[in-house]
Symmetry: C2
Subunit: 305 residues, 2 copies
Amino acid sequence: MPFELTILGSGSATPTPERYPSAQFLVFGDHHILIDCGEGAQVQMMRYGVKMFRLDLVFISHLHPDHFLGLPGLISSLSLKGRKEPLDIYSPRGLQEILEVQFLFGEVHLSYELRFHVFNDSNESIELDDKYLTAYSFALSHRVACRGFVFKEKKPSRKIKKDLPDASKLPPEAYPVLRHGKDYIDPDGKTWLQEDYTIPNEPPFVYAYITDTLYMPKLASRFADLEISTLYHEATFMNDLKEKAVTTCHSTAKEAAEFAVKCKAQRLLIGHFSSRYKDLEPLLNEAKEIFPNTFLAVDGEKFGA
Amino acid sequence: MPFELTILGSGSATPTPERYPSAQFLVFGDHHILIDCGEGAQVQMMRYGVKMFRLDLVFISHLHPDHFLGLPGLISSLSLKGRKEPLDIYSPRGLQEILEVQFLFGEVHLSYELRFHVFNDSNESIELDDKYLTAYSFALSHRVACRGFVFKEKKPSRKIKKDLPDASKLPPEAYPVLRHGKDYIDPDGKTWLQEDYTIPNEPPFVYAYITDTLYMPKLASRFADLEISTLYHEATFMNDLKEKAVTTCHSTAKEAAEFAVKCKAQRLLIGHFSSRYKDLEPLLNEAKEIFPNTFLAVDGEKFGA
């Protein structure tokens, strides 16, 4: 399954020409997902060559301005291009009201439907479950209601062995059954044992997105069984500003790395950097000391599986 | 009086990385004025080095997304920087509602006051009149209520002659009186004739901003006495797409130039270019054939008096 993450914005509340506010474009299987949509995201999409017209899902973590202000313009531009397919938007309560009042006074009539899905207040909930992925949202700890996301690849537990001596005899109908760990009985009554024809599949790809939150070690422990392939965790400050991080309900680079260790992630991306940091290497080094496989998720960077 | 206009965006409905949506920053006397505020305007301000923290007046022509979507983020950033001075915003009805619902759901509490001034429906009205300037708004012809603006320098009609033989004897109190074309009688009863001490002043600087409108020749004729120093007129299309301009209620480069001729402007700036034009020289040439003193108002350009 293809996985490609493009960072559209790595700044925090105050954007700069080098660091736009939070936005990521995620190609996950057949889905084209926008995670947060800070001001300027549509221009960043053009700049970094993502397939913005294939966008089908939008997830907004919370309603602070730096996480959604790019959405009205993007929605409007897609309409000007004549989009017909509906767009599914997952967000906290209020986004629909915000958009509707803008379109009302601006007399904007969209060429396609917006389907709003409002997060509930549960600790964790499944937002979407289809043949490609399962998307969860979960509560974070910020100054306003804010949720993180997990996107987990939908994948059969077994895969067909390569170079089977009688592979050509295996009926096509048997493949999906065997891949899901079940034996296949053909129309003649013959049983094809999954054990003979399959081996365990690689684990599904899991992407977790955690922004605008105090460090949550208990959440990290709860995620230890999730087998997170790539974790994005905000790192607004360095640890010498830990106190400021606590006051503003943000995390430090050190804490992002500690989260990655605790939840046993394979790779860590850090972002949402305060505009005070011109050079990001110190933040990267602070995280790498604890979790070596850390990368800076700066504007324009792309990450594969 | 200083006059400096910085173009922050010269695009139209669909922005591109090269052309952001409409926004201009105007230093006019002691005022720092933002005219329209498309998405990304605050980052453009940083990019082009304007004094965004001295901003005191905002004029929004209409509520199509490409003319105001940058405002919530800018307002929020100024608050994060601890602004205390109130900000005066002149706009059509609806902008206050749009901003308030965003700040409500995002739980954004500003550090300063927004003072909203809503345009009335009159053909023309004075929005602001202080010791530096008079600002008018006037009705344009677009798909939604849209207004253009005139900013006219407040300037005495006369100025004191240089190298007067008895200039040193002129009482300081006489200056403002004579500058306004009146004779001054000093405490001893002596009359200082304005004719002896003054000559006519240069005409006041006048900046006119006209965006998102059908070509309005009658308005241009009405403006012929205004002595417009610099006219900004939208030129979304070239004249071969005149029909499309009419359908979408926009103007062509040729029409912008015809407006400049009719209203006897000294200089014409054209902008709000459709994203279909990669090269803008043909639009410039089309306008220059009719009005030679035309310039492209592209992102980052600065124009003095």
